[in-house]
């Protein structure tokens, strides 16, 4: 019998991801844009809230280094959009992390304990599921001081754990009694090693995929709330609040909608592409 060098799950996944050019491009774009969102504002002579009375509502490539134009108050749109990207990314990441911690814990407990506890816990999730997410978020947003946007998004993350909990529970439940776990037990593998080598990789795959797909959802949610006037407050800017301002000016200043709109859409597209690529790469069943 010849020894076949086994590639680990992650090495294997990386290999498959590398072959998916769209995902790779998306990952690079996200990294570069994130970097640029933090570096870019320092390259411009303006800050996100300085008013330039000489150059109000100028278009793309405007005078006085307003590369992407200005809004009605003469605030530089390039700097505002970049700080908007910063804020949207930070908020989305925070909400995703919160929803993760809760979702994984909840799902793992339900899956491991099983029985009536599981029934009850998942029934509760079902009930919350039958409400549109936006209802819960709108009610929560009334709770929290709107100046503190991060508290709001920690709260949104705290409601957004439902799908995560379902995924983790389902995985745990189905893995517990699978043959390969039994086989590992039969040949005397210790429990911690089974968890590390057999359960974790199988749970982690879907978790990582869902994480990548949750971030754009959260970005979208932040934008939606800002659009409805429940999110980021002036003079701070997020992609959503910039789009809202832009949507009011479509007759006179179309770029105010198009600039933040472009960055929002390309971020969302890239996260979705990356998520799809990761799903193909990490799900060993779908080769």
């Amino acid at each position: 019998m010849t020894e076949v060098a086994a590639r680990g799950l992650w090495a294997d996944a990386w290999l498959r991801l590398r072959r998916n050019r769209a995902s790779l491009f998306a990952a690079c774009f996200i990294l570069l844009l994130t970097l640029f969102a933090f570096v870019g504002p320092h390259l411009s002579p303006h800050t996100f809230d300085t008013l330039d009375w000489e150059n109000m509502t100028v278009g793309l490539g405007g005078p006085n280094n307003h590369w992407l134009g200005t809004d009605r108050l003469g605030r530089d749109l390039f700097v505002r959009t970049m700080t908007g990207v910063q804020l949207s990314l930070q908020i989305a990441l925070l909400a995703t992390i919160v929803s993760f911690v809760i979702g994984i814990t909840y799902g793992a407990i339900a899956g491991f304990v099983g029985g009536r506890v599981d029934d009850l816990m998942m029934r509760f999730v079902d009930v919350l599921y039958s409400m549109p997410y936006i209802f819960i978020v709108i009610i929560l947003s009334t709770f929290i001081d709107r100046a503190n946007i991060f508290a709001l998004f920690a709260a949104i993350g705290a409601v957004g754990w439902l799908t995560m909990a379902r995924i983790v529970r389902g995985q745990t439940l189905s893995l517990r009694n699978r043959e390969f776990i039994e086989a590992a037990r039969a040949i005397g593998v210790t429990t911690p090693r089974i968890v590390a080598r057999h359960i974790m990789p199988n749970v982690l795959g879907p978790v990582v995929v869902y994480a990548t797909l949750t971030i754009p959802q959260m970005i979208l949610f932040e934008s939606l709330l800002s659009f409805l006037g429940l999110g980021v407050q002036e003079p701070a800017a997020s992609l959503g609040s910039l789009i809202t301002e832009g949507a009011k000016e479509i007759e006179s200043a179309l770029w105010m909608l198009l600039v933040p709109g472009f960055f929002l859409v390309s971020l969302l597209v890239c996260f979705n592409l990356l998520g799809d690529g990761l799903r193909d790469a990490l799900d060993p069943r779908e080769r």
Partner: protein
């Protein structure tokens, strides 16, 4: 089947009850009340107002009273829209929201299903990639970007359709809102259909149908379409929630007198009864939509057993 349907309908009641209870207590825990205004009211007037609306009573008594009213269809008076009951407000707005939402879902299905089927039939060709790229964009472009863009193109640039407004529901005022709302639905339905159609096209019975010489359109129409629609049907429940969220945006952008705005305004104003009314009505609609989707699923898929 009938038994299953009945047990599902009975199952709705506890779900709704939990939703109502949760919403009732959570919204009341929020800081502030309906009579906190910029200019503070004199305390005695505020106390009188609160007494008039029963807000001075202990919260569990208010809760029981609310349930009692609800049991004969009374949502109570609105705190902010004086002289209007919540029932009147929702009855005015809901038909508009519903007609836009349902038209959008219908349009989404009518465009999305053929689009997905087309992409599946042309798998891995340029036509497939182009279709899926458009669909991918449709999933990622939020409707608060789509809606203003439609306004610019069709309203301002080409002057084909009114930019916004309602005018008692003339069709041309409905076209843009419905289009904006259905954009995302088309994308989702297209993607779902393509995925499941690919799977169905690889199955044995489709091979058999082709082998016995059926023309391709009949293979699709008679054999492939029905099973391929199953994931789309089970998405219809969540689709309704999607439409509710979208209608908040679309109604704002196009200035439509739908009921979506009451949710946001009600929450900001602490108009307890209005928010509760919206949650009860929309919550019930969603639960019912989920039920319809499930029953439809069973009807479409004879493999589903109810026991």
């Amino acid at each position: 089947m009938l038994r299953y349907a009945i047990s599902r309908i009975v199952g709705i009641i506890p779900t709704l009850f939990i939703i109502i209870t949760l919403a009732f207590f959570v919204i009341r825990l929020a800081p502030g009340g309906p009579f906190d205004e910029e200019q503070a009211l004199p305390p005695e007037i505020k106390a009188n107002l609160e007494a008039a609306y029963g807000l001075d009573q202990p919260i569990w008594k208010q809760y029981l009273r609310y349930l009692q009213g609800l049991s004969h269809g009374d949502f109570g008076p609105s705190f902010k829209f004086k002289d209007f009951s919540v029932t009147e407000l929702i009855a005015q707005g809901l038909p508009i929201s519903l007609s836009i939402g349902l038209s959008a879902v219908l349009l989404g299905m009518l465009v999305g299903v053929p689009l997905g089927t087309f992409a599946a039939l042309k798998q891995n060709t340029a036509a497939d990639y182009t279709t899926m790229a458009i669909v991918g964009l449709g999933i990622s472009v939020p409707n608060f970007v789509v809606a203003p863009l439609l306004q610019i193109l069709f309203g301002l640039q080409w002057r084909l359709l009114p930019v916004a407004g309602w005018e008692s529901g003339e069709i041309r005022y409905l076209v843009l809102p419905v289009a904006a709302l259905s954009f995302g639905i088309i994308a989702y339905v297209g993607r779902l259909t393509r995925g499941s159609m690919l799977e169905v096209l690889r199955s044995n019975y489709v091979r058999t149908a082709r082998a016995k010489g059926l023309p391709e359109y009949l293979v699709i129409w008679r054999h492939a379409l029905r099973p391929a629609l199953l994931p789309v049907v089970s998405w219809l429940g969540p689709a309704f929630a999607f439409v509710v969220t979208g209608s908040l945006v679309v109604e704002t952008v196009f200035g439509l007198p739908g009921s979506g705005k009451y949710l946001v305004q009600g929450a900001i104003n602490r108009d307890y009864s209005l928010v509760m009314g919206m949650i009860v009505v929309y919550g019930s609609l969603i639960v019912v939509c989920n039920l319809i989707a499930d029953l439809l699923y069973g009807w479409l898929d004879p493999r589903v057993r109810y026991d």
